[in-house]
């Protein structure tokens, strides 16, 4: 009896060890590494594009989704090879500082302010400036990413353009420190307004079966344009960067095929991003 059990245990342990050995091995990653904003990941755009890129170039791409601020920081520290971000002013500064090369605009959509259907601050259809002033005056909840992302940078710029100091500790102002979709969900729970990009909002509306609790209340105007660009991390600043692969990605996503794919990426029959690499 005892021998039987020992044999049994030996087989069990052997099986465990075998299972461990069958896993794919650890290798230093030869793939292209990208840091991107949460919107391109949360909407599913990259999941949709990545296989096409790999098919066209044979390069596997991995991406980590963070705010644009952190993405730029990852590039500065040489931890990624290429960036897909949306904060034009910060990007231009980044390239001017020698951290990135070959900044290439690839697509855009626009920012929108979304809020509860009841619209407590009564801002529907107003300009951004009037809307932000009304939100502040009425003390309606406003949810901010608060994470130095492209959307957060834009929000700060909008407060300033409205002639207001960006709120910080005000009781109606909530800073989540999280990505776009998590922040929208928090805004929905708190019945607050939030600035978001149209692509992520469409994805959110799609997830809620086309009937989301938050609706678009403010849209339009040049201020709200949201341009996405691809930037290669500078090989001069980072000698170890996989520059060839980064250039391949940059060229591919600005190319005709990828641009058509972006154009075809729709949810609820709406385009999430509008390609504009040719402009």
């Amino acid at each position: 009896m005892k021998i039987q059990f020992t044999a049994c245990k030996a087989v069990f342990l052997g099986a465990c060890i075998l299972m461990l050995m069958c896993r794919p091995g650890w290798t230093a990653s030869p793939e292209l590494l990208m840091a991107t904003t949460t919107s391109t990941d949360n909407t599913g755009l990259l999941d949709y594009l990545a296989p096409h890129f790999t098919e066209a170039t044979g390069i596997e791409i991995k991406w980590t989704a963070t705010g644009t601020g952190k993405a730029l920081e990852l590039g500065k520290r040489c931890d990624v090879d290429v960036l897909l971000v949306h904060a034009p002013d910060a990007e231009k500064q980044y390239v001017a500082d020698g951290y990135g090369i070959n900044r290439q605009p690839i697509m855009y959509n626009d920012f929108v302010v979304i809020g509860p259907k009841s619209d407590p601050a009564d801002i529907r259809g107003k300009t951004t400036k009037a809307a932000l002033n009304a939100i502040r005056a009425s003390g309606s909840r406003f949810v901010s990413r608060g994470d130095d992302s492209g959307t957060h940078k834009k929000e700060i710029a909008l407060w300033q353009a409205a002639g207001l100091t960006p709120p910080d500790r005000e009781s109606w102002y909530i800073q989540t420190g999280q990505g776009m979709l998590p922040s929208i969900n928090i805004a929905a729970e708190q019945s607050g307004y939030i600035l978001t990009d149209r692509g992520t909002y469409i994805k959110y509306a799609h997830d809620k079966g086309g009937n989301p609790p938050l609706i678009i209340v403010v849209e339009g105007g040049d201020m709200l344009r949201n341009q996405y660009s691809v930037i290669q991390v500078s090989p001069e600043n980072c000698p170890d960067v996989r520059a060839e692969k980064a250039r391949a990605f940059s060229g591919w996503i600005a190319g005709q095929h990828a641009q058509q794919l972006i154009d075809g990426f729709r949810l609820l029959d709406k385009k999430l991003f509008i390609p504009n690499a040719d402009q």
């Binding site: 590494l33 998590p182 997830d207 980072c238």
Partner: protein, 228 residues
């Protein structure tokens, strides 16, 4: 309430339909936790044994340090490892950032104090008469060591399980060092964090149940090994 039932149904579906995303996260979780456990047991059991068995000056102080390290917050470990393995950090050349070995490194730091402290306690708690008995049976130094270890094996196994539980359920290190990269470094816990953030509660619950199922499997395996 709906989404809890929905999550349970979805969990079964994810497990039995062989959903590739789920299995990629399960594989990532098992990989990092196996390597972290192998490393922390290989280092922790001898160190814990020494700490519990030997008498040396400063033993109480060492114990105090080890016990303090039990409360290391995972995000702090994540931050430390991140600083070290970032390409500009001291270990940058190894290219460990955003990889499973990078996460495993952090989780080893998490598990090591647990293994050391619990092993030391286990050794201290072995029957005081054991030493005399072994010596009276003519045991040499080597036999004394192996005898004590054998006697404490169940408590050491429990230490390993405790550490395993901590490593499996950890999210801070995996998120910061791993970057939550789909198909590569997305573990079950970072996937749950992501799905919850996206408001996909059912998927989150499903993944949580998958994690529980794995924990159950591991414990069932250990309980089988312990049966006398």
């Amino acid at each position: 309430m709906d989404f809890i039932l929905q999550g349970t149904a979805q969990a079964l579906d994810l497990l039995f339909s062989g959903d590739p995303e789920t299995f990629s996260a399960v594989a990532a979780t098992l990989t990092v936790s196996s390597y972290a456990m192998a490393a922390s047991l290989a280092m922790g059991i001898p160190l814990g044994f020494a700490l519990g068995h030997a008498d040396f000056a400063g033993k109480r102080q060492v114990r105090l340090v080890v016990d303090t390290l039990l409360s290391l917050p995972t995000v702090f470990i994540g931050l430390l490892v991140y600083a070290f393995v970032s390409r500009q950090g001291p270990l940058g050349e190894m290219g460990l950032l955003f990889t499973l070995p990078g996460i495993a490194m952090g989780q080893t730091i998490l598990a090591l104090p647990i293994v050391i402290a619990l092993t030391a306690t286990a050794i201290e708690n072995t029957d005081a008469g054991l030493r005399t008995t072994l010596l009276s049976l003519g045991a040499g130094r080597r036999h004394l060591l192996t005898g004590t270890l054998w006697e404490a094996r169940h408590a050491i196994l429990a230490a390993a399980l405790t550490a395993y539980g901590r490593v499996m359920t950890e999210v801070g290190i995996s998120m910061m060092v791993g970057g939550n990269i789909k198909w590569h470094t997305r573990t079950i816990t970072t996937a749950i964090a992501l799905e919850t953030g996206k408001g996909q509660f059912a998927t989150g619950i499903a993944l949580g149940l998958v994690l529980l199922a794995i924990a159950f499997g591991v414990n069932a395996g250990v309980s089988f090994l312990r049966r006398k």
